[in-house]
């Protein structure tokens, strides 16, 4: 049953730039807004093979573009979008095509077809507890997307990595101040990219990244320039593009 005055469902929900950390979901605004203009959208995700839809954003987003984070690597997801106005929330859009939360390189490897696992002989080393190289600083930190509701950062791994996998901490600083705050206070991230929410609209920030491994946390990268969190959908080129 249609509720009077609510928007019509959004159209053409698509997924872009899928990787193991996030999937960018886009859609088109419905032709009919309903009794009042659209205030924003809710994005829902469902893991393929389950029946449960989970709402991705607590606060409605205004742009028809949203990076969905918190996905489990290797699992498949479908997405749908609902539009909101003063009268209420629309019916959900048609669902997107299924997309796997996986890095493109891993996806290519998977296409070659299944093969049983093989484990090599286990190599052993005794290490002195004092040995442990803290990785150097990451480079080329850039903002690849900046909108009112989120900012996406990307960077290059450090040259000096230590001998383990490197992980990252992201820090933000409100322009004009000297106080850097860690954004991912819990787990460090494994991939050289990060999507951030909860930035104050209209404020300007700079960002920087540190590497860490079991030996400790490294020096901070060069900070990005000031990025204003605002109405402009700013899409500079990603590094290497």
């Amino acid at each position: 049953v249609e509720v009077e005055g609510v928007p019509v469902a959004p159209l053409d929900v698509c997924c872009h730039d899928a990787n193991k950390d996030y999937v960018v979901v886009t859609w088109k605004q419905p032709a009919v807004e309903g009794s009042s203009s659209i205030l924003g959208y809710y994005i829902d995700r469902r893991e393929v093979g389950t029946q449960h839809w989970a709402q991705c954003n607590d606060v409605p987003v205004k742009y028809a573009r949203f990076p969905v984070t918190g996905l489990v690597e290797g699992r498949s997801y479908i997405f749908r979008v609902r539009a909101l106005n003063k009268a209420g929330v629309s019916r959900p859009s048609r669902v997107s095509e299924a997309v796997v939360a996986m890095d493109p390189s891993d996806r290519a490897r998977l296409r070659a077809g299944p093969s049983a696992p093989w484990t090599g002989i286990i190599k052993f080393t005794e290490e002195d507890p004092t040995v442990g190289i803290i990785p150097g600083e990451p480079t080329d930190v850039v903002v690849t997307e900046a909108t009112k509701s989120y900012v996406v950062l990307a960077w290059k791994p450090p040259v000096q990595r230590g001998h383990e996998g490197v992980m990252y901490y992201i820090e933000k600083c409100i322009s004009g101040t000297d106080s850097w705050q860690r954004v991912n206070t819990g787990m460090p991230v494994k991939s050289p990219r990060f999507a951030m929410f909860d930035l104050a609209e209209g404020k300007s920030y700079s960002f920087r990244v540190r590497c860490c491994n079991s030996a400790g946390v490294g020096e901070a990268s060069v900070a990005t320039g000031d990025i204003t969190v605002g109405d402009i959908l700013d899409l500079p080129c990603a590094p290497g593009n």
């Binding site: 049983a116 290490e127 002195d128 996998g165």
Partner: protein
């Protein structure tokens, strides 16, 4: 099973290369018990793609058989080694 020895107080690092499609899920076990990442155990995939287990500051209780088990939809396999922890050399004041 291959035997290795580590001096008490040192770190023991085990590295195992794993192949398979889809990418296998890797678990490490010690004497049959699942090893979880924590203060004394580090689990990670290193830059060369080896699945790595590091046992920090080895103690006598770390003696035992360590197994790296890999499984995916196509099957499963494992590799095992035995670790013994040596007494540290006696230190004189």
């Amino acid at each position: 099973v291959k035997m290795f020895a580590v001096t008490e107080g040192k770190h023991a690092k085990f590295r195992c290369f794993v192949t398979g499609k889809p990418k296998p899920e890797i678990i490490w076990r010690k004497d049959g018990k699942l090893i979880l990442s924590g203060r004394r155990y580090l689990l990670y995939e290193d830059r060369e793609g080896y699945f790595t287990l590091k046992v920090l500051y080895c103690k006598q209780k770390d003696n035992g058989v360590y197994v790296c088990a890999a499984s995916n939809t196509a099957g499963q396999t494992l590799s095992a080694v035995h670790l013994s922890v040596k007494e540290p050399p006696v230190r004189f004041k």
